[in-house]
Symmetry: C2
Subunit: 196 residues, 2 copies
């Protein structure tokens, strides 16, 4: 069983590493938190549905993927503990989710009610800056990632994946990695076998 206070503390540390909070802000903020658990293959957040919470991953692995009109899936990102598998676009736009967040293993999360969180911006202006900084950081990360995915071959991106996600390839099926690389599992298998 998870200890609320101890798990919330991990979330607080992750937030403070981005931007120091004003006194009192954490106390108000922690009122908006809940612990959640997901079984393998559950959806944290689903295409077509509204989103309400920012999500901090305590334990497990989550993938984000798109689906095209034929139902084919395209993995976009993998999340491991300490990351934020949060449907940011849906939260910001108030529109239904366009992408899916799915647990690839059993998962534990801390979740933050985003609408209530935004109301705190008035009381704690630094939370507005905090949100801006999060968006800046995510924007920079996304641009670096996009450049790499576009300018490299699938084989090069596979190598980078292995470096950036040590151990992850043991924990998830290869076809998820292939989808992330934009190739078929067969092609990934060829790349792997041609490595020696």
């Amino acid at each position: 069983m998870l200890d609320r206070e101890r798990e919330f503390e991990k979330f607080r540390i992750a937030i403070e590493s981005v931007c120091h909070l004003q006194p009192g802000a954490w106390d108000d903020l922690s009122e908006l938190l809940t612990l959640k658990q997901y079984k393998k293959n559950d959806y944290l957040s689903r295409e077509g549905e509204m989103a309400y919470n920012a999500v901090f991953l305590l334990d497990g692995i989550v993938r984000v993927f798109y689906r095209n009109k034929d139902g084919a899936e395209y993995n976009k990102t993998f999340f491991v503990p300490g990351m934020f598998p949060t449907p940011l676009t849906a939260l910001l736009s108030g529109a239904p989710n366009l992408i899916n967040f799915q647990a690839l293993t059993d998962c534990d999360t801390v979740e933050l009610n985003f609408a209530e969180f935004k109301k705190l911006f008035k009381k704690y202006p630094s939370l507005d800056s905090f949100m801006r900084i999060v968006l800046e950081i995510e924007w920079i990360k996304k641009e670096r990632h996009d450049i790499r995915m576009v300018t490299n071959s699938a084989a090069e991106n596979y190598e980078i994946f292995l470096e950036e996600h040590p151990g992850l390839e043991q924990q998830i099926p290869q076809y998820h990695i292939a989808s992330y690389l934009g190739i078929t599992p067969i092609q990934l298998s060829r790349i792997r076998s041609s490595k020696q």
Copy 2:
């Protein structure tokens, strides 16, 4: 010859359409503006160089592209008048640019000194919110765009390009569009000819 005041006014209107400015904010902000002109093929902003200005495009067409280690170019976005061909990541991170902004025609711009702009955040807190909202809007746009590019075929994305950029295909070489679509000019030519 361009009339400074009239051109700056276009910039103000574009900003106000995002978020209403506090009284006085525009007066201080307009002190930080300059008019610039670029010749066809000039770079507004270049890989490896630092970035200093946010850019508003008055006239002309700009492309953003990445280069891989072999020098091959990959177009990412086209900008037309009223848009902001701004090296956001370089401005936010303070690190050298990873991507290139190039004029595809002669261009006129209004440019805003970003470091000085950020200093105004203290005097006008709403500019901090403004920046957050810009990032939110850009994030949402980018996600929609990415989903489409990944889940559609090149032929479908070509159709979408034509709808979203009416008239643009008459103004720029097809090989730039091909690069944007992630295919060769030859392949784009085949797609075009197979349309009837």
